[in-house]
């Protein structure tokens, strides 16, 4: 009896804990942001109005302000910024994948002892602050920075290349900063692949490249998806990289959010932007999840 009881308790804990976690760290903050997005900005502490108040005995007045979402729809600058952010994230993710896949593959197939060293090299940059690493790129890409000085010295170019404060610099910063997030899940996936499958393919006369395309690549799909998500989602909302390396005109949703939050003190509009961004990101995520489930369903 008591055994069954404790069993049920542990099951409840097992299922309940993740939900509790999600509720505390995702749902609750989300509801708070949603609440602010429906308020109006005001000059006070905190700088937004209350959604409800008791006006007289027993009368609760609720005021929902939808003007923020309306403004987001009407003013095309927000849509432009969103599309541009998605584009930067897409290009960044594709670059990370093209660079990261061969690296992850090489690490996964390296001898055991060297693997640890190579992994260390991937993780090592994390020991320095993200902000400092992005700042370092300013020093590298500057007109009188390391790269230009070196190329000028080599005689490859006659005058400094203008890279800093362009879109190119943003891509460089994004790929540099997020590459490990692509490599690590890919590596985790690739090391778990059964090498006998490739041997079987070779025995059956399949050339290595074809075996890669037909065996390794499809089986590493979960790693590709996980890595792409880990890169794509944070890059869409990225603020530091476009702010430090980008051109003054580069519109990114993160920068707009900064303006609304800090310069305009319009927390409600900034919250509305955050809600829209979340909605835009959740949809493909759910679709991808569904696709993967279907995939697993057909395989079993």
């Amino acid at each position: 009896m008591s055994h069954r009881h404790s069993h049920r308790l542990s099951r409840l804990l097992n299922i309940g804990l993740p939900y509790f976690w999600l509720g505390l760290f995702f749902l609750l903050p989300f509801v708070m942001v949603l609440r602010i997005s429906l308020a109006e900005p005001t000059l006070a502490q905190p700088p937004y109005t209350a959604l409800w108040e008791w006006v007289e005995q027993g009368v609760l007045q609720i005021r929902l302000n939808l003007a923020n979402f309306q403004l987001l729809r009407e003013d095309d600058i927000y849509l432009a910024a969103l599309l541009n952010s998605l584009w930067v994230a897409l290009v960044g993710t594709v670059c990370c994948l093209l660079l990261g896949y061969p690296m992850a593959y090489a690490i996964a197939t390296a001898p055991e002892r060297r693997r640890i060293l190579l992994l260390m090299l991937i993780i090592l940059p994390f020991w320095t602050s993200f902000l400092i690493r992005v700042y370092a790129w300013i020093g590298l890409l500057n007109a009188n920075g390391l790269l230009n000085t070196f190329l000028l010295w080599l005689g490859v170019i006659d005058e400094p290349l203008k890279i800093l404060h362009t879109q190119m610099a943003v891509y460089i910063g994004v790929v540099y900063s997020y590459l490990p997030f692509m490599i690590l899940p890919l590596y985790a996936n690739l090391t778990r692949l059964d090498p006998t499958l490739l041997e079987a393919a070779a025995d059956l006369g399949c050339r290595p490249f074809r075996a890669f395309l037909r065996v390794t690549l499809p089986l590493s799909m979960p790693g590709i998806v996980a890595g792409s998500m880990l890169v794509f989602i944070p890059v869409v909302g990225e603020f530091v990289i476009p702010d430090l390396l980008g051109s003054p005109g580069s519109l990114m949703i993160g920068k707009l959010m900064w303006t609304e939050f800090f310069a305009n003190k319009d927390w409600p509009l900034a919250s509305a932007l955050a809600i829209v961004l979340l909605a835009v990101l959740v949809v493909p995520f759910v679709l991808m999840q569904r696709l993967q489930q279907d995939d697993e369903g057909t395989r079993t």
């Binding site: 600058i77 003054p248 005109g249 800090f262």
Partner: protein, 367 residues
């Protein structure tokens, strides 16, 4: 945090509270100030004199300070916002506590002209004590400007940025603008000969057109990057704050690579701003904040700060103690006829400010 540690800290803060309630200015003072806005020995001198341990955090934009204040419970005892439009807005929102002037004996040495102007937004100077003041003008590399525009090119004019012909010639050596719509719009309006604080749609449109025309020649919009770029010679015209440009001049002199930097107040007029000290309403240790203000009202202390940061201070008793080179520099302590051309940014409603900021985002993105 372990329970013991928590209990320890709880007891410690309770102890501090009890102590400050007894009227002792002991313990810590949490300061939130602009980067590079004290002399190197200002805070150590304060600790030596009062026994209070200063804890300093820094920011480089009023907006960051404001966001923390508005969120509440910032934990700071003394902050240094710019008077217009920031401190005035915070006063309206009731974020500051009134000063206990019996604890601030040095107040009478402050420039009456500045105190009167501050009293406009802070009746009776009940909440704010001015700290430093300066102007927003032009940081220039005179050699490069002359190379681009000719030997006798005028330097003290916004035309270097807003006259497309001149700006096109200067684009090669680099033009930067402050990333601040109020600053840039008032500069453009001053160049057009209009009221720099105008919010009339026709004036704003004209200024926006002017900024749009200048945009292709502007390398970047940033509020602190120009300091190092002026100093290393990769900019020739920077719209910037007086003291920051003079710090760039100092760095260029130290590097000794032949880069010259000068600061000029444009003849069409420039913004005059004042940074003030204020104690947030929810400051944990207002006693200590008062002690720090009193310390900074000491003419010797504040003169040393001016010597270090290249900004003028409002303490008349400190002026003779400042290095002669600074005191006699017309760009730091401008003569009366120049001061007459300076304007104080005026108050804007929240709505006007948002319209201006969104217009600014659009302008920067070239849309």
């Amino acid at each position: 945090m372990t329970i013991q540690l928590f209990a320890q800290r709880f007891l410690f803060s309770a102890f501090l509270l009890a102590f400050s309630a007894l009227g002792h200015a002991e313990g810590q003072v949490h300061i939130y100030n602009w980067n590079d806005y004290f002399a190197e020995d200002t805070l150590s001198g304060f600790q030596a004199r009062t026994g209070i341990r200063p804890v300093l955090d820094v920011y480089d934009a009023n907006e960051i300070l404001e966001a923390k204040l508005l969120a509440g419970a910032s934990g700071y005892d003394l902050i240094f916002p710019t008077a217009h439009p920031f401190a005035s807005r915070h006063l309206q929102a009731g974020l500051y506590q009134p000063l206990d002037k019996t604890k601030l004996p040095g107040l009478d040495k402050l420039d009456p002209a500045i105190m009167t102007s501050l009293a406009g937004m802070d009746p009776g100077n009940a909440h704010l004590v001015p700290y430093m003041w300066g102007t927003s003008g032009l940081g220039l590399n005179p050699d490069k400007v002359k190379a681009a525009l000719g030997e006798d090119a005028p330097m003290d004019t916004w035309a270097l940025i807003f006259d497309p012909e001149k700006a096109a010639k200067l684009a090669g050596c680099g033009i930067s603008l402050l990333d601040d719509p109020t600053e840039v719009f008032s500069a453009a309006l001053a160049y057009l000969g209009k009221d720099p604080n105008s919010l009339a749609p026709a004036d704003l449109d004209a200024a926006a057109e002017l900024i749009k025309a200048a945009h292709p020649h502007v390398r970047y919009f940033h509020s602190s990057q120009y300091i190092s770029d002026l100093a290393n010679g990769s900019l020739c015209v920077a719209h910037g704050y007086s003291g920051d440009v003079l710090q760039a001049r100092e760095r260029a002199d130290e590097a000794d690579k032949g880069v010259k930097v000068v600061y000029r107040i444009p003849r069409e007029g420039a913004a005059l701003w004042t940074d003030v000290m204020a104690i947030p309403k929810d400051a944990p240790n207002p006693e200590a904040a008062h002690a720090l203000i009193a310390y900074l009202l000491d003419p010797k202390v504040i003169a040393a700060v001016s010597d270090y940061v290249y900004y003028a201070n409002p303490n008349l008793a400190a002026t003779p103690l400042i290095e002669a080179e600074l005191r006699e520099d017309p760009e730091i302590y401008p003569p009366a006829e120049v001061r007459a051309r300076l304007f104080v940014p005026s108050e804007r409603s929240e709505r006007e400010l948002r319209t201006l900021n969104r217009l600014w985002t659009r302008l920067k993105a070239n849309r």
